[in-house]
Symmetry: C2
Subunit: 139 residues, 2 copies
């Protein structure tokens, strides 16, 4: 029987991308933590975590199979859209990203941009990121 | 083709429970808005919204079939647990609630308690709430 669990951002384990992920197109400037994830607790069907982009940092344009939602918790930035344009996002914005849709995010401000990401998956590990500018794209 | 959509809390349409829902056990003190929902945009597989409990207000203990996550965006309160006890929750807590598990929330502070709720459903309308203290429970 699964339990109700509570995980606070301030007590979570924070990660940065590995050299291998950075070589595949991920940003070296991001920090992220898992909050609800099968890797943390006996959960399934939802996974979420927190991502912090420092001032000027970018989550490069990418795609993944599952749909995703963002909740912008703090800061302002610009969201990469599928057509190559960008649009502003700000605190208290909820973003819905359909399956396989190109997206990304740039922190255009002088303050950190913090968001909650949400997938309808058991785990973040179930989501494969494809960065469009990565060397591996040419394989 | 579904689009990427952005909905801000400050521009969302806010709701209160209907007299029928209150008769079925819902609180008359809550305000909520939908942020990602099939009723709002061409989305599916994830639905989320914002709930505000004023000081002293309660989301009474209840169950529903799907699992759910909360992200506590502001304030402090106490979470009703399946065994009848409560535990403290606070800003930046992520809560995972397994399927059909009893839960609820009380704002024990003097400030509003604000949270984002998340379901792995197309819409909030797909979730049927069962309040344990409602008159309809005796049907």
């Amino acid at each position: 029987m699964a339990d109700i669990t509570v995980t606070n951002i301030d007590e979570a384990l924070w990660h940065t991308h590995t050299p291998e992920e950075i070589a595949a197109g991920a940003s070296q400037d991001l920090r992220y933590c898992f909050l609800v994830d099968k890797a943390l607790q006996n959960s399934h069907g939802l996974s979420l975590g927190c991502l912090i982009l420092p001032a000027g940092a970018e989550l490069p344009p990418h795609t993944h199979q599952p749909q995703e939602a963002y909740f912008i918790k703090k800061g302002t930035g610009q969201l990469h859209l599928p057509d190559g344009t960008k649009r502003d996002v700000r605190e208290n914005d909820a973003v819905y990203i359909p399956e396989n849709e190109r997206h990304g995010l740039v922190n255009t401000s002088d303050e950190p941009l913090e968001l909650i990401w949400i997938f309808p998956t058991d785990s973040f590990a179930d989501v494969t990121y494809h960065y469009e500018d990565s060397a591996s794209q040419s394989d």
